[in-house]
Assembly symmetry: C2
Homo-oligomer: 145 residues x 2
């Protein structure tokens, strides 16, 4: 297998595997084309919202998001938040997710985050623990409807 | 007891109880004055980063943060993230935290978030469950150092 290229999401990636990779997490590729462009523009102009993708043989096969949060606590410290870790189901088990995670953890570190947090279900906890994450609390959800 | 006023953080609130309230969560009031101003400016110009405070008899006694995240999934949906829920230890048990939370959940709903999530330890889970939150997963943490 060729080595994946890990990089930040570019507009042309959206329809070159990015949305269909997200489908492995939750149906995403049915998004309206104009809406997807609008979402990209909004995220792309926010330097604290970084989407990393893995490109393999010219196609996006996985992605992960890093949000950088400005706090008052920790002397005005920064916290990284990892969201939407996904690898296309046809390319799982090839360490692609691990490579994207390490790429984003490096960015979080370089930006000065003192910690990076994420939420995950029990089944994928070992994946994150291998990367150095530790269980510390619970994730709770409120549905607006 | 007078009723607290729930509102968005203003610059003059920072040194009028906001930072000392945060001390009940984690030492915050030792932040450099210029740094605190800089943090405020950064947060204040980001409409997706909202800090709500409770003012009681002219002094800030509690606060909570809402971050609004733009997703590609959920047809370009928005997710609310609650952070740093705190009430000054001298004013706890007076439903102030509940009022701040309801204020921010209303904002999240009005902004169109389909869900709002937060991380918490076991001891404060019942507080959030009473507000309608449900346990769904684990919070994991990575320390950069």
């Amino acid at each position: 297998m060729n080595e994946p290229i890990i990089k930040e999401l570019e507009e042309e990636d959206i329809w070159n595997g990015f949305l269909t990779s997200l489908d492995s997490l939750r149906q995403a590729s049915n998004i309206d084309k104009e809406k997807a462009k609008e979402v990209f523009q909004k995220i792309n102009t926010n330097k604290d919202h970084i989407i990393a993708v893995a490109e393999l043989d010219g196609k996006i096969v996985g992605s992960t998001t890093l949000l950088i949060e400005q706090k008052f606590i920790h002397n005005g410290g920064l916290v990284g938040h990892i969201e939407d870790v996904v690898v296309d189901k046809d390319f799982q088990g090839k360490k692609i997710g691990e490579k994207i995670m390490k790429y984003l953890l490096e960015i979080a570190k370089n930006r000065g985050c003192y910690k990076t947090i994420l939420d995950c279900t029990d089944d994928v906890k070992p994946f994150y623990e291998k990367l150095g994450f530790k269980h510390i609390a619970n994730e709770l959800r409120f549905d607006h409807n």
